[in-house]
């Protein structure tokens, strides 16, 4: 075991963090750990059912009693995986008997009730200590290591019980009502099936929790040793020493290189022979020459030149088109026509043609049936302008009718002065929107409309007319003061001049 091969970050943790590391370890090596667990636990579970045929209630108790025995396989696996060599299946099988029968009696009798058994187990199993040495070791590890392990045992026992209930409840919830009643009865009378069912649930709960419990205890043990033996410091110091050694070595080699380079460029070596060789080949030849030379300096130089940073040649792989390749390769041998293969290929081809035909048919059907309507819809949508809103109302504006002024004058004569002016005013707004491209927003007040008109209307007479009309409308609308008959008549006479021009709906 060397600390540098540890696949787990060794640092000082608080004990709870160490238990979390245990859970993380199980999650990381979930396949191997559960493989190891079920290799032992599942046969045992079945064997107990055979041995205690009929006394089904006994089995959960026996399983519980044998827990320390089941813990060993996952711990063996974790111990190896932690230092980077997870055992192969064969290795595991070979190791298993020794693993299971060492210190068995002690583990199942007086040590069974040790509340810190997950923490203690690595000492006897991984360190292989027993008797006095083991006791001494445990004393060295000390009470601060044991305490959290006791809590761990309590928590895991409760979690296991809770998970058993949860599993039982989950299955119950998923069973339809009608059957559920009978299912409840099954558990009530303590029948064999009910008890078997409970055994299976208990086994599942135990399988969920126990590997985590073992791993968490192991992590507590690791953490304790990390603290007592400063494993993290050792790792850090080793790294530091390596860094310190690193630059020194490089300096020495650089010195050799400088000497060597001067040799390389010495005129004694004929270059002409090498001219037609590629750079890589030249280099290889030169390295061979150096290696064969009796001089130790040249040999050292050769060694240095072999280091990756000084190699001028490197391999690169990339994709390129086949045309680039020289066409020296023989053509592929013709495929041996097999009757079955031919038939199959024919069938697939037919299918593909059929699918293609079907696709064409669908496209054609769509083009004939759906497309005109869809196109029409699109066209309509693009043509329709967004509807203009009349002042204060949510309805589309249409251009005012040309004889609106006559209509208004008739109303005036009939004594409906307010209606007459309203008609003129609304007609003007509609006219502004349709003839002068000046739609007034639905939220605009009369003053807003005036301001809009003043800003956007070029014709001063029109502006003046609209101003007078607005004032008359305001007077009659809000003050109930109808305009003089003369004013009303002028308005009615002038209105068609601005708004009754053959209104075109703006495109």
């Amino acid at each position: 075991m060397s600390l540098e091969s540890a696949t787990v970050a060794l640092r000082l943790r608080n004990p709870w963090e160490a238990t979390d590391l245990g859970v993380a370890m199980v999650r990381h090596w979930i396949g191997p750990v559960y493989g190891a667990w079920f290799t032992v636990a599942l046969p045992l579970f079945l064997l107990l059912h055979l041995l205690c045929w009929g006394n089904w209630w006994l089995i959960p108790w026996l399983l519980w009693w044998l827990k320390p025995w089941l813990d060993r396989a996952p711990l063996y696996l974790l111990g190896h995986a932690l230092f980077g060599d997870p055992p192969s299946r064969r290795q595991f099988r070979r190791e298993l008997p020794r693993l299971l029968f060492r210190q068995l009696i002690a583990a199942l009798t007086w040590r069974r009730f040790d509340l810190a058994r997950s923490f203690v187990l690595p000492v006897s199993q991984l360190e292989g200590l027993s008797g006095k040495a083991r006791r001494q070791r445990l004393r060295d590890l000390g009470q601060p290591g044991r305490g959290p392990a006791v809590w761990l045992t309590l928590v895991c026992a409760n979690v296991e019980a809770a998970l058993d209930f949860a599993l039982l409840m989950l299955v119950w919830l998923l069973i339809p009502d009608v059957v559920a009643l009978e299912f409840g009865d099954l558990l009530d009378d303590g029948s064999a099936w009910g008890q078997l069912w409970l055994n299976i649930i208990g086994f599942c709960g135990m399988s969920l929790v126990e590997p985590c419990y073992v791993a968490a205890g192991f992590a507590l043990y690791l953490n304790r040793r990390t603290r007592l033996e400063a494993w993290d410091l050792e790792l850090g110091f080793r790294r530091m020493a390596a860094r310190w050694a690193g630059p020194g070595r490089t300096v020495a080699r650089l010195a050799v290189l400088v000497v060597g380079l001067s040799l390389l460029t010495a005129p004694g070596m004929s270059r002409a022979d090498h001219d037609e060789l590629s750079l890589c080949e030249q280099r290889r030849v030169r390295e061979a020459e150096l290696a064969q030379s009796p001089s130790p300096v040249k040999q050292a130089l050769e060694e240095v030149l072999r280091e990756p940073p000084l190699q001028p040649c490197e391999w690169r792989q990339r994709w390129r088109f086949r045309e680039d390749e020289p066409s020296g390769a023989a053509p592929e041998p013709p495929f041996r026509h097999d009757l079955l293969a031919q038939w199959f290929a024919g069938a697939v081809e037919m299918l593909l043609w059929f699918a293609f035909g079907l696709f064409l048919a669908v496209v054609g059907w769509w083009a004939l049936r759906k497309a005109p309507r869809a196109l029409a819809r699109i066209r309509r949508r693009s043509i329709q302008p967004s509807p203009l809103l009349a002042q204060g109302r949510y309805e589309a504006i249409s251009p005012p009718s040309a004889d609106l002024a006559d209509e208004a004058w008739r109303l005036w004569i009939a004594g409906q002065s307010r209606e007459a002016v309203r008609m003129l005013y609304q007609g003007s707004l509609a006219g502004l929107a349709t003839h002068y491209r000046l739609p007034t927003p639905a939220s605009a007040t009369e003053e807003d409309c005036l301001r809009l008109a003043a800003r956007h209307l070029a014709d001063p007479e029109l502006r003046d007319f609209f101003h007078r009309l607005t004032r008359s409308w305001q007077a009659v609308a809000y003050a109930h003061r109808p305009p003089d008959a003369a004013v009303a008549q002028t308005l009615c006479q002038q209105w068609p001049r601005y708004f009754a021009v053959g209104g075109e709906w703006p495109a």
Binding site: N14, W16, M169, F237
Partner: protein
């Protein structure tokens, strides 16, 4: 040589300023214990209230039921928002709740994670919560996943260095991590026996040019210098 990622329970978060924060995610054992403590506190408080309200008969019982409801749903959220992310149980175990990006939890996250206790509790006794915690890298239960929160270990307060008096020597150039390593070594030598201390110090022989306890003493001198003793 790229270092293979070592198995750990730390979540690294890089802030926009380029600072890496390490959050140590807290797992099932510590959280189960914290939950038990909280449960105990809630039960005691409710029991005391029940005794106090017993004099008011029916109306008192009504008030107690309201208190029960509020305790059940608001006790954790209130503490998590106003008491530095920790209920009393979490505080006792050195835990706190933060957002997944390391910022303190706010009302919405605290409420979501605590209302979704109901989902974690399913089918009964936190069955789904435990399975979720096991299968999640950061030990988040369903409520944590929904609210985007993490339960982490609070960093212990930093204590002033206490080094034995003695000579101080300036060390050769060291990276920050290496300086911390040397100080750690000297601080923790109280629990290491002398043989182990010498063994560790000899790893750095290429650096101190000393062996045995002399190497340890040299490292101690470096540590004093690093701790600010430049006499």
């Amino acid at each position: 040589m790229p270092e293979p990622a070592l198995l750990d329970t730390v979540r690294q978060i890089e802030t926009p300023e380029g600072i890496t924060l390490s959050l140590r995610a807290a797992g099932p054992v510590a959280r189960a214990l914290a939950w038990s403590i909280d449960l105990l506190i809630q039960c005691m408080a409710l029991l005391a209230l029940l005794i106090a309200l017993a004099t008011l008969s029916q109306g008192g019982f009504g008030v107690w039921l309201i208190a029960l409801f509020l305790t059940e749903w608001l006790y954790p959220a209130l503490f998590e928002v106003y008491a530095g992310g920790a209920t009393p149980g979490k505080k006792a175990l050195g835990l706190m709740v933060v957002h997944a990006n390391g910022t303190p939890v706010g009302w919405s996250a605290a409420l979501i994670r605590n209302l979704l206790r109901a989902a974690d509790f399913l089918p009964v006794l936190y069955g789904f919560g435990m399975v979720a915690m096991f299968s999640n890298r950061d030990f988040q239960r369903l409520g944590d996943l929904a609210a985007g929160t993490l339960v982490i270990y609070r960093d212990p307060p930093i204590l002033a260095l206490t080094l034995l008096p003695g000579p101080a020597l300036p060390p050769p150039s060291l990276s920050l991590a290496e300086q911390q390593l040397i100080i750690d070594f000297v601080e923790r030598s109280t629990i290491l026996n002398p043989a182990r201390q010498a063994e560790l110090a000899e790893l750095l022989t290429g650096f101190t040019r000393l062996t045995g306890m002399a190497g340890v003493e040299r490292l101690q001198a470096y540590a004093r210098w690093l701790a600010g003793d430049h006499s």
